[in-house]
């Protein structure tokens, strides 16, 4: 399912959006937790809550797209290596990898879109936490 994305959804297809949603939400919470000091400092130097929200959105979107591109690049590399051996070494592993990784562009980009959309609830939660960080926190925690 992970390799094939939405192209060949199995009976357990619903599990993967839940996992993606959970990972995205935990990640957003971790950002707002570990960036508490930075957010408080930025508020001290005149950042508003909407400015902080843009920062969080930017970080989450950049990380999501970067992760997607890294996986895409790895897939291309693995596919290239397996294709090199196809015909010369027809082992079950090569055949399985070829079938597993080959995926058309449409489902791949829909998967990326869903990953980004699934970040939204986590981002709302992260923003809620960030809104409640007072600028004084930066001074008190030093």
């Amino acid at each position: 399912m992970v390799g094939k994305g939405l192209e060949a959804p199995g009976p357990d297809w619903w599990l993967w959006p839940i996992v993606a949603f959970s990972v995205a939400t935990v990640y957003a919470i971790l950002i707002s937790q570990f960036r508490r000091r930075d957010i408080a400092i930025l508020k001290c130097v005149s950042w508003s809550n909407p400015d902080v929200m843009l920062l969080l959105i930017g970080e989450v979107v950049v990380v999501s797209i970067s992760a997607f591109l890294v996986v895409f690049q790895l897939t291309v590399e693995v596919l290239g290596v397996t294709q090199y051996f196809v015909g010369t070494t027809s082992t079950p592993l090569v055949t399985w990898l070829t079938n597993y990784i080959t995926i058309s562009a449409g489902p791949m980009f829909i998967t990326l879109f869903l990953i980004v959309v699934l970040q939204i609830p986590g981002l709302i939660l992260a923003q809620f936490r960030a809104n409640h960080i007072p600028p004084m926190m930066a001074i008190r925690e030093e």
């Binding site: 400092i41 001290c44 005149s46 950042w47 809550n49 400015d51 004084m136």
Partner: protein
């Protein structure tokens, strides 16, 4: 005659609730004129840092009014306060408060990022200009962990200047520095008061630093107990 740039009127600040309240500030009244260099001195725990935080709008007073350049910051919502901070206030902290993952240049530029009307080139030029002013241009690509305490404080001063605010609040700016480095930092702050005509409010427990100020306010137990002019005047 010019109007005061900072007016503190009957300000009280209490921490805690019910019977367990601690009065950190008691009926503080101060007027500071544009271009003044005021030092607030007193022993640890006397409320001088609280006074600075309240004046800068970082904390709300329990009662009383604070006017910065005619704007009553006690009436301003948390949503609008960032605009006031950006336009009127620069803050230098004892612990520098630089973002560890950003370089000196980025720490300064970050102040300008929310100003969407500024072009990137203009932001960079403004950040470089203030770095030059505190003699830190050569260290612009260094991260805070790669700089000494004095260098970090100079970057923090540059950050406070980049918006060109009329008021500079300094909370024990030499507290984490050795005496020689502290002297260098204080000379920079004094030059900002002299050359840029910035209003400087310095909070310190170090009596040696009051020589830079033109006016000295003494605090004890949350109240102003004395006021004097600097001997250098």
């Amino acid at each position: 005659m010019a109007n005061p740039i900072i007016q503190v009127q009957g300000v009280n600040k209490e921490y805690g609730r019910g019977k367990k309240t601690v009065a950190a500030l008691k009926d503080i009244n101060i007027e500071i004129m544009p271009g003044e260099f005021v030092a607030v001195v007193g022993p640890s725990g006397c409320g001088k840092s609280t006074l600075l935080h309240v004046m800068a709008g970082l904390e709300a007073p329990t009662s009383g009014r604070i006017l910065l350049d005619g704007v009553d910051v006690t009436l301003i919502s948390e949503r609008d306060m960032p605009k006031v901070r950006a336009q009127k206030i620069g803050f230098v902290f004892q612990a520098f408060l630089l973002i560890e993952d950003l370089t000196a240049f980025e720490n300064i530029e970050a102040v300008l990022w929310p100003s969407l009307e500024l072009k990137k080139e203009k932001e960079e030029a403004m950040a470089l200009e203030v770095l030059r002013e505190v003699d830190m241009l050569e260290r612009k690509d260094h991260f805070p962990r790669q700089m000494s305490g004095g260098e970090q404080q100079r970057v923090a001063i540059a950050r406070a200047l980049v918006n060109n605010p009329p008021i500079l609040f300094c909370d024990e700016p030499t507290g984490n520095l050795d005496s020689k480095t502290g002297e260098t930092v204080m000379k920079i702050i004094a030059s900002l008061n002299k050359d840029r005509k910035m209003t400087v409010v310095l909070v310190t427990h170090n009596e040696e630093l009051v020589k830079y100020a033109k006016r000295i306010l003494r605090m004890k137990d949350g109240a102003i107990v004395g006021e004097s002019k600097s001997r250098q005047e």
